[in-house]
């Protein structure tokens, strides 16, 4: 069936009143949590995961997608008005956006962020429509060795690129793989890491682990540094753009979109790198370089905000076509697939084609809703910044416990939630990134299955793992990723020798 026809059917499904309601709910929730400092989209989706036991999958994913896009938008409000990025992806927006707000141009900063997000999100979703089927049909021909190689690539890329150090990344991955191993080994029926506790035989629920790692860890993190006083928000009027602002914004929007999508689609790309690249590019290309860092340049908000949203679309593309989580939020959404018993991966487009196309259609709808809601409502959203912090964080704990408990109504689940939350806190405290942990928990069992399947077919011959051109190619890429610091060091030496050094250095955060 034609792609556009399938999309049209997706729209027909997504435009039913119920699904429209969930899209609106998701977008509102997403914007709200994006605006609230300290609440991220991954955390929100994690908190809502228990709903998957009560909602039908289509509605749940429509809502999750709305939260993802809404969060990408809402984070910009906090960055601009409060200089406190609600998300790591809007750190760059805060640089110029807050300066613009301080010099009285908050309305324009919010407007260029909203329209840029809309344009980038729409283009990104179109790319998803065009690319989904080709990628999936390519991926569906992969056998166990190829699958394994792609998963190893995802593991290595995430651990090598994110976080303070690679060793810590790999250690985090190992801990995640370990958590994923708890329970019965599906192939042999042997118990692993259950310590004779009957509740552990079924394994740790991914929903529980995700809620603990994101929500409880965040609450404990805030609790541990409560003494840091919050900043005051800058009041704002209705967002609008003059013709001059518009003509300064549209090129950065498009360039940001181009940066964002591919980075969102690859493991470990995320939104931080493309937003930063976009910022640097706009700063170089701007006709008003004097505004950067002083009164705030609109290009420095328009580009990164667009990059941010199109990277979300790229992330969703990898999730739907390959079953690979390339961002924390899609990692949590994959957990939702698992809890519905839907196997994510290239076959998803065929086996759950209705769900996938409805979800894609709802991305367009969510994007349009965001623009409609956010341009006129920006002052209202800014009021959310006045919720007393104690209620906010106690609320996170409350809903996390409620979510974890309601799944099986077992008291031990609350205790497990606390234990894993403390583990997450300790990891964060010592500079371990959380995403590799979640990758290990979610992809670990699948990777083990593929490894064992591949070696079973080849009767123990290890060379089967590198027997096809694709696996060789992927492992070569992995080698490059691992050897990257060495390569960068060499490039740096060459650059220094020719006297051409990049003047801005990236400060990535996980």
């Amino acid at each position: 069936m034609d792609v556009w026809q399938q999309l049209a059917e997706g729209f027909a499904m997504a435009l039913t009143p119920t699904n429209l309601l969930y899209a609106a709910l998701g977008v509102l929730l997403g914007t709200a949590v994006g605006v609230l400092p300290g609440l991220g989209t991954s955390l929100t989706v994690a908190l809502l995961l228990p709903l998957t036991y009560a909602l039908d999958p289509t509605s749940a994913f429509i809502m999750f997608a709305g939260i993802y896009y809404g969060g990408a938008y809402g984070g910009s409000t906090t960055s601009i008005l409060l200089n406190t990025p609600g998300e790591s992806s809007t750190i760059v927006t805060a640089i110029e956006g807050n300066l613009m707000a301080k010099s009285g141009r908050a309305a324009q900063a919010l407007a260029t962020a909203a329209i840029g997000s809309f344009i980038a999100g729409t283009i990104g979703s179109l790319l998803l429509v065009v690319l989904a089927s080709p990628i999936a049909s390519l991926a569906i021909q992969m056998g166990a060795p190829e699958y394994l190689s792609v998963m190893v690539l995802a593991f290595v890329a995430v651990t090598a690129v994110l976080g303070a150090s690679r060793v810590r990344g790999f250690a985090a991955l190992g801990i995640g793989l370990m958590i994923g191993m708890v329970g019965l080994d599906p192939q042999s029926g042997q118990q692993r890491l259950t310590f004779g506790v009957p509740q552990l035989i079924d394994g740790l629920d991914i929903v529980l682990v995700a809620v603990a790692m994101f929500a409880i860890t965040e609450a404990l993190w805030v609790a541990s540094r409560l003494r840091t006083a919050p900043e005051e928000a800058i009041p704002v009027g209705r967002p609008w753009l003059s013709g001059r602002d518009l003509s300064r914004s549209w090129r950065p929007w498009l360039r940001g979109t181009v940066f964002g999508f591919p980075f969102g689609a690859i493991p470990a790309g995320g939104a931080e790198i493309p937003t930063f690249l976009s910022y640097v590019t706009e700063r170089k290309l701007s006709k008003h370089p004097e505004e950067f860092g002083t009164t705030g340049a609109i290009e420095g908000v328009a580009g990164p905000e667009a990059a941010n949203n199109s990277s979300a679309a790229g992330s969703v593309t990898s999730m739907l076509t390959l079953g690979l989580p390339t961002s924390a939020t899609t990692a949590v959404m994959l957990a939702a697939f698992t809890s519905y018993g839907i196997a994510p991966g290239p076959q998803l487009l065929q086996s759950e084609s209705e769900l996938v196309w409805t979800l894609i259609a709802s991305l367009f709808i969510g994007n349009a809703l965001l623009l409609l809601l956010n341009l006129p409502l920006a002052p209202a959203w800014a009021k959310l910044l006045r919720i007393p912090r104690p209620y906010l964080y106690a609320g996170i704990v409350f809903f996390a416990v409620l979510g974890a408990f309601s799944v099986n109504t077992q008291a031990i689940d609350i205790a497990l939630l606390a234990v894993i939350g403390v583990l997450g806190f300790v990891l964060r405290k010592f500079g371990f990134p959380i995403l590799p942990v979640m990758m290990g928990v979610i992809l670990g069992p699948e990777a083990e299955l593929q490894l064992r399947r591949a070696l079973q077919i080849s009767d123990g011959d290890v060379t089967t793992l590198v027997s096809s051109p694709m696996t060789i190619g992927v492992y070569l890429v992995i080698a490059v990723v691992i050897a990257w610091p060495l390569l960068r060091w060499l490039v740096g030496r060459v650059r220094r020798a020719t006297g051409d050094r990049p003047d801005v250095q990236g400060d990535r955060r996980s």
Binding site: A54, A164, S165, V167, R168, F170, A171, L173, G174, I175, L177, M178, M181, Q187, S188, G189, Q190, R192, L193, A219, L220, V222, A223, S224, R225, L226, R227, P388, R389, P390, Y391, Y393, A394, G395, V397, F398, V401, L402, F405, S406, T409, A411, I412, I414, A415, L417, A418, G421, V422, F425, V426, K429, F430, G431, E448, L451, L455, Q456, D459, G460
Partner: protein
Amino acid sequence: MNRARPGIRSDLSVVLLLVAFGGLLVWDTLTAPADDMRRGPVGPQTMPLLVAGVLLLCAAVLTVEALRGRRPRESDVDATDWRTWTAVIGAILLCAVVIDVAGWVLAGGLMFYLCVYAFGSRHYVRDLVVAAVLALGSFYLFYSGLGIELPAGILQGVL
């Protein structure tokens, strides 16, 4: 000298954590009953041992890095408010302990109230009202909206 020591100590506690996890995996795998349902050349022990290897290797590299004084950019280790931290985690564990007897409304409400206090709110009456609204609201929302019956505990019959 004085400044370097807590850094080293925290680095080494990370190493201990990783060694503990790695050791746990090895111990659990080696004490597991021999599997006779093994299918294929890779049994249920391979991955745990592989992961244990990764963890122990990371621990070794981190030890070397710590001893050589190489430390990554880290989230600020200083100024940790352990009192608030303990109060929050304590409230969650208390909830886990009392929930079977007290039910969700009382246990969850109490947990929220303690957390709000821990996070610094001192509006005792307002906090109590918010806690009660959240606890009762979630109970009835789950019951009527999602069809999930949370335990009522000692309030059985009242709610």
